[in-house]
Chain length 932, copies 2
């Protein structure tokens, strides 16, 4: 399996030297556009034919200039220096030739025209284009258009995008780590070129063409790394319009319309593969800076987050193991479990089912009692509090890490990019506008222009949304209920079976099979819900991609969360609470008694449920869905390609990088990756009181998950465009919400699901000796066998007159027999009091923790101040010279500045604030000079 | 009272025409520095003598240039246009003369030198100075130095401070109010000049000397309003250094050192007085924009916040009145109070004190039972939930308002001003450095320079802080306990008195006097704690003023909150819970029984306590402390001045504005104003379940408070410098913390203090008929009189064998007599369950409310987009022309730009992002032109 990857990887490596450049071997391929030559029956561009008469001038809020088509040709290729411009022109001619030479069907022809215009506009924006020579020959295969951004274009766009680049000035980053710590840490550090990065950070600055002398430009080809180049080209692709042939803007719309099949930058194999995307590097830190350099900030942040989460799982796992160890160590001295196992105490329990079952001895449940103690002991309470604070700590730590990263990645002060509407939104808006226009023609009335969709347009979508979500909630609950019914019926049937072997294994068999059914249902529904959430979000017609993502995440989270946790919630809080009491059981379907918890308490069942679902979900989803299915898809794709290749038989040349990348799957966002982790975070935080080993299993999973995801991103997916992002967005809110929710859930688990409170109450109020002796007797109520309803008593009761059951009820000889006893209310009050105490204590502690830990690390604060000062020093020199120019107060319009002056201006004005005493004098001198 | 104010006001008005200008009648007085000619024994400037040999070059982080003293005189007055410079020069000569002519004592002479240097540096910074002619004559009175900032200085500083000024471009602010609503609203709008402000907002922009043609400059004298001028001069004063004579920076240090007595801008009476600072305007909106214009953003935000709070109290008051009305309406049909008043039921209650007291009939407590129902009814529960959500709503509403204001006041994107260290911090730092230096001389070792105080220096301060705060907590608790002891002893003594009249009024007398004692103690401690908090914060040596303020606020809040609420917490949650039961009472001092609640429940006592403390605190603090004491102080000051004036006898000239303003009290920050309101907010939110009328009383108070504060700011205090602020800072956190705290407090009040839960439990579980009949009987336990301890039984018990008391305990005939009964635990469980339910429900609803209400109002969002576009349009024209200049990519250093380019650059680059298709073409054309 791994060797296969390596083969692919080395193939990459070999061709990377030639595969990443234009045929001249000098110009880098920054982006690839792909389209298939196929026979479409119709094109999905709705304006294609009607545009000529209607001439809609506004498609989106990216205002179309009216004159764009008239001077499009005049301005083309303007930004390129001589030689390369000529080159590009040549390519353009070739393109024009290719476009005109081959007659195609109408739809295809239309698309060809659109491509032609779009690519012409790209040329006009300064990009250079290369296409396959054999494009006119191969009629059905994928066709590649390769784009290259020359230096002037890169410079221009970098300035507009305010891309920060390192200057020559070092700002000594005072690493706060001691030498010993660094030495100890050494084996865990990845071997990356810039390992000394932490100590020498170069001051960075918005790129500006004015200031080229400040930057460390060794070569114009490598100054902007490939990710930045890709981003710049994507930016141009995103905003390039296509007015004449298809009123639209940007590559994503064209892909949505089917004009192009795909657009992606090329992979360039880097050190990432060796030091990051390998399982054998599992114990090392991730080279996050390289990841960010290669994939952009958004993906970089995901891996950084995953790293922080995994790292913080280590202490949680250790404490979890200790807590579990405490349980193991004390199981032999725990009085309640000893009492339960003690056959001499001879508790005769009431039968577990009607008629068929017999009375049984409590000591036969010794095993579950002992197992129960492993998870249900006082240390668990401590662990629940610990984990609640851990969750807060994790979030705080991440906040700090995020700020550190946004500082060292120079993300401070970046603005939100204004987004274009999604293609679907535009299409619907256009349809609406056309409908309105037709109406207007009929009515001859002047109405205001429609520039957005209102809630009225979305109403059907919302309606379907709400009803679908309700339906799916119903589905989830039915699934849970179905499994309950399965358990009840099967155990009833098995209990009636004459085979004693079957009878004795009832509980184990039923529980195991039921949990597995649960797991399968969860896995299936999970996939379905994922798809449904996308479909539902499309129905809402969100305007922008960000909007879409947020709505999708919320919906998917809600559905998947319900799906994964509904059975667990049932076991934790509902199972066994509605079973009734001997003589007055609750029945479903008139025949089957509601299920009770195991004699050792519900917590052990919760624990089993939780561990199987958590482990099963992780193992199956990781192995089958994340490794297997992509492999399968790839295989299918390869087979299909081979099929089409065989018909043409012309694959003599070795595959180029773009062919290889095209063969990979498209990148589809980080939502599934985050979602998986968030659901896991739920297992770790929500019910951690019942399963202290959850952090350990999460840790083991994540160590693999990081490398798995890394491999996927490097070798299985096309390279995504580097997207800037300041934070992990809505995921942080979801995490923090889950952290808060976990407090109350754990409070309830400890007080209601576990036996912690009854034990405390017994020990401190009822116990005569102050010890736990007699606790089991105290928790069991008495039942007079003669009070069984006819037909429900065991057939061969023998001489037993009184049996015991687990509840706090009055004995048969009390005036109000079988009513809840005073103990019941007392324990209930204690349980509720514990919930209040626990919840408010933990909430208070969380607030304190969040308040004590400053959001911005101190070193960063100091470094920021230092950098401010350095920036001032750097720009002071040149500003001083220019200052005389500026000092003509009444004379307007001197000195251009332009956008690139912004960074400088800001830092300069900071200077003036910091050294107040120098500046005014300077100024005065200047003005005196000019006045004299 | 008011007429007196008016007289003062009109005096202001009359002199304002001449009093606000230099003697030439043309130059505005922007700032006044005051010093007294008095005989000091020593000056507090520690470097005064040692500076010559040590030559410390760094006093604070405001780096001193080494050359400042050498060219100080050379550069003076440089920035002024001819005529005025000459004028200033004359003034300077005069100053020099005044400085040299009169021989003074050493300390005084030193101060004179410092002033001389400081004022010389001010001149150098471009300010113009005027001093009283008779300054050399009057040896002991206050001396005024008046400052004027000429136009070039204003321009320069406005540019550096990035002050936003309106441009000529209107950005039609689409008011979302309908015409009808505006008509209805008309009477409540203040009559201010810019009433149409809401509809025509001028686009504003950072001031830049390049762009003067864009602004609406009708007159250079009035373009910057007086508050801005004051701020600009203050900025100069703040950063002007004084190196030669006293190594220090800024006016505040000089004031702290006693070189100057005061520094303030002058009041200029405006429309504020008529439309804002009058009680008769109480029903009107505040002219917040004018307030902000006059006092700056920080004070403007305070009044805006107060306005929002007061406005939102209106619905809360209305609902409160309705809830109270419900209580009044249902008091006659409430079965429990009817049963309590019913003499036929004949409940014989156990005596309220040992020996002296007799058995009593429950029906005699009918009054309190009925009163109790007014506040303790189901509507209260609704009201508690309502008020919790109201608190969230209030905070959300304020967030929106704050964003609206920061938009319309152009505060978006302002940076935090870098602050200079406080004078005290600098002094201590200097002392430390000197100590170290001496040590260094001895040891001849090169150590790193000391540039800040560490925790070691602050350790004693922290220690005193913690111990003092603990001591004051102790003090508060002792005060509460003292009042409890007072109540217990006095009621015991009165009960023993033979006079039946006294006996019958025990409870009323004791409660009333105790609450008044409480109130007095609270008021006294409040003042003490305020002073102590300042003292303690000084001990911590905070670095900056902001730091100081935050620490002070936290401390003062903690102390005052404890002080105001400790007795209320006692009554709500502790009173009567430790009283024991008949036959087993709890005693304090071996003799006095712990007090019990009134028969009607503790809620009525809580209500009395709360209302008296709240009302008393507001009335007394408002009237005596806020109106009376300043008046008294003024009187004292006036008498003193008159005394000194009489010795000199030369007050022939009418007092100038600066004389009048100097006679006012100094502005001492907004902390006390906020604090008062926050404590009030606590009364409104924390215990609102027990006193639904609290919002009403708060509303009444605040309506007056707004005008009272307004009057104070306009007529009683010197004009504060306009300070920029984006938000109300830490107060928001305190408010939101109180809102959260109030949820749990109200949950406990409803479930434990009120009778709500016992009634519910009775009605739904115990009551035979499902009604409340028999509730009183259910809440009273039985006590066998023979079980009284010897000597505690009433003397003349007659034939009574069994008496009743309010508790849930087993009757004497039960096997475990006098133990808590099953009912007790049942009710307790219900109470705790209610707390959990209430808390989580309200927290969830709060989250939903906060999530549903967007932080940024929609209109603002749209307006922001519109303004962005307008800004682009405005600057597009000129940028277009300059663009060719910029398009020389490799040629660095073209066109200055400087700080003023920042705004423009930002908006311009926004343009490029919005119209992506235009710009590249433009650029290409340009580069082609240059290339050709």
């Amino acid at each position: 399996l791994f060797s296969e990857y390596l083969t692919v990887y080395f193939t990459f490596l070999l061709i990377s030297l030639e595969g990443l450049y234009f045929s001249d071997g000098r110009r880098k391929v920054d982006y690839v556009l792909v389209f298939h030559q196929r026979r479409h029956s119709s094109i999905r561009c709705p304006v294609g034919t009607s545009v000529s008469q209607d001439r809609l001038s506004i498609v989106s809020n990216g205002n179309f200039p009216q004159s764009v088509s008239s001077d499009a040709v005049a301005g083309r290729g303007g930004g390129m220096p001589g030689e390369e411009a000529a080159n590009a022109g040549e390519v353009f001619m070739e393109l024009g030739f290719a476009g005109g030479s081959e007659p195609t069907e109408p739809a295809d022809h239309e698309m060809r025209l659109i491509r032609q215009e779009f690519e012409a506009n790209l040329l006009e924006a300064g990009l250079e284009i290369e296409r396959d020579k054999e494009v006119s020959v191969k009629a059905h295969g994928p066709s590649f258009t390769r784009l290259h951004a020359p230096w002037p274009v890169l410079c221009r766009e970098a300035e507009f995008l305010k891309i920060k680049v390192p200057t020559k000035t070092e700002s000594g980053f005072g690493s706060s780590m001691s030498t010993i710590w660094r030495k100890l840490n050494q084996p865990f550090q990845p071997k990356v070129p810039h390992q000394d990065h932490e100590r020498t950070k170069f001051l960075s600055h918005c790129f500006s063409r004015d200031k080229l002398h400040l930057y460390n430009i060794t070569s114009k080809d490598t100054f902007f790394d490939n990710a930045t180049r890709g981003r710049i080209v994507y930016e141009i692709l995103r905003r390039t319009v296509c007015v004449r042939t298809c009123q639209t803007i940007g590559i994503s719309t064209l892909i949505a319309k089917g004009v192009y099949d795909a657009a992606f930058p090329l992979h360039d194999v880097s050190v990432l593969h060796e030091e990051w995307a390998r399982y054998s590097a599992f114990y090392k830190y991730q080279p996050i800076d390289l990841v960010r350099k290669y994939f952009g900030e958004k993906i970089g942040l995901y891996f950084a987050w995953l790293g922080v989460y995994t790292q913080l799982l280590i202490p949680a796992s250790i404490v979890g193991i200790i807590v579990f160890g405490y349980g193991v160590a004390t199981v032999d001295t725990d009085i309640p479990s000893l009492e339960m196992c003690d056959e001499r105490l001879n508790f005769t329990m009431c039968p577990l089912c009607d008629g068929a079952c017999d009375f049984w001895q409590l000591s036969t449940a010794c095993g579950t009692a002992r197992a129960s103690h492993l998870f249900d002991n006082p240390a668990t309470v401590f662990f629940a509090i610990f984990m609640s604070l851990w969750a807060v700590l994790f979030l705080e730590h991440w906040k700090r890490r995020q700020i550190s990263l946004s500082f060292s990645w120079d993300l401070t002060g970046i603005e939100e990019d204004e987004e274009h509407p999604r293609p679907r939104y535009e299409t619907i808006l256009l349809q609406k506008r056309q409908r309105k226009q037709k109406k207007k023609k009929n009515k001859k009335k002047n109405e205001t222009a429609i520039d957005k969709l209102t809630w009225k347009d979305r109403l059907p979508g919302y309606f379907i949304n709400v009803s679908s979500i309700l339906f799916m909630f119903g589905l989830t609950f039915s699934a849970v209920f179905g499994v309950i019914v399965y358990r009840i019926t099967v155990s009833a049937l098995m209990a009636m079976s004459p085979d004693p072997e079957t009878k004795s294994n009832v509980r184990v068999t039923v529980t195991a099979t039921a949990v597995i059914i649960n797991l399968v249902v969860i896995l299936i529904l999970d996939e379905i819900y994922g798809a449904v959430a996308v479909w539902l979000t499309e129905l809402e017609i969100p305007k922008t991609e960000t909007n879409f993502e947020e709505r999708l995440i919320l919906k998917a989270f809600l559905l998947k969360f319900m799906n994964a946790y509904a059975p667990i919630f049932y076991v934790a809080f509902f199972k066994g609470r509605f079973a009734g009491r001997p003589g007055n059981y609750v029945y479903v379907f008139n025949d089957y008694r509601m299920e009770e918890c195991a004699p050792g308490g519900c917590l052990i069942e919760l624990c089993i449920q939780l561990s199987i679902i958590m482990l099963g979900k992780q193992l199956i989803q990781n192995n089958i869905f994340e490794i297997g299915i992509p492999k399968l898809k790839k295989l299918v794709r390869a087979l299909k390609d081979k099929g089409s290749a065989e018909t043409e038989k012309e694959e003599e040349r070795p595959p180029q990088q773009w062919n290889l990348d095209h063969a990979l799957a498209a990148f589809e966002g980080l939502t599934p990756e985050y979602m998986e982790m968030i659901i896991q975070f739920g297992f770790v935080s929500l019910f951690v009181a019942s399963f202290p080993l959850a952090p350990l299993f999460a840790l083991l999973n994540n160590v693999i998950e990081i490398r798995l995801d890394a491999k996927k991103f490097v070798t299985e997916l096309r390279r995504p465009v580097a997207i800037r992002a300041k934070d992990i967005g809505i995921w942080y809110n979801i995490l923090s919400g889950m952290g808060k929710f976990s407090v109350i859930i754990n409070a309830f688990v400890i007080s209601f699901t576990s036996d912690f409170i009854p034990r405390l109450v017994y020990q401190y109020t009822y116990s005569q000796t102050g010890t736990m002796h007699g606790f089991i007797d105290y928790t069991l109520s008495y039942f007079n066998v003669s009070n069984f309803k006819p037909g429900t008593a065991p057939q061969n009761s023998g001489d037993i007159t009184v049996c015991r059951y687990k509840d706090y009820r009055e004995p048969p000889w009390s005036p109000d027999a079988y009513q809840f006893s005073k103990q019941y209310w007392c324990v209930l009050a204690a349980r509720l009091a514990f919930v209040i105490l626990f919840q408010n204590l933990v909430m208070f502690l969380s607030l304190v923790v969040a308040w004590v830990i400053p959001d911005v690390p101190k070193t960063i604060m100091e470094q920021l101040k230092r950098e401010k000062k350095l920036l001032v020093d750097v720009f002071l020199r040149e500003e001083k010279e220019k200052f005389q120019l500026i000092q003509r107060p009444t004379q307007a319009g001197d000195g251009g500045g332009g956008p690139r002056a912004r960074c400088r201006a800001a830092s300069f004005s900071q200077f003036t604030r910091k050294n107040p005493s120098t500046l005014p004098r300077n100024e005065n001198e200047n003005s005196r000079h000019t006045a004299v």
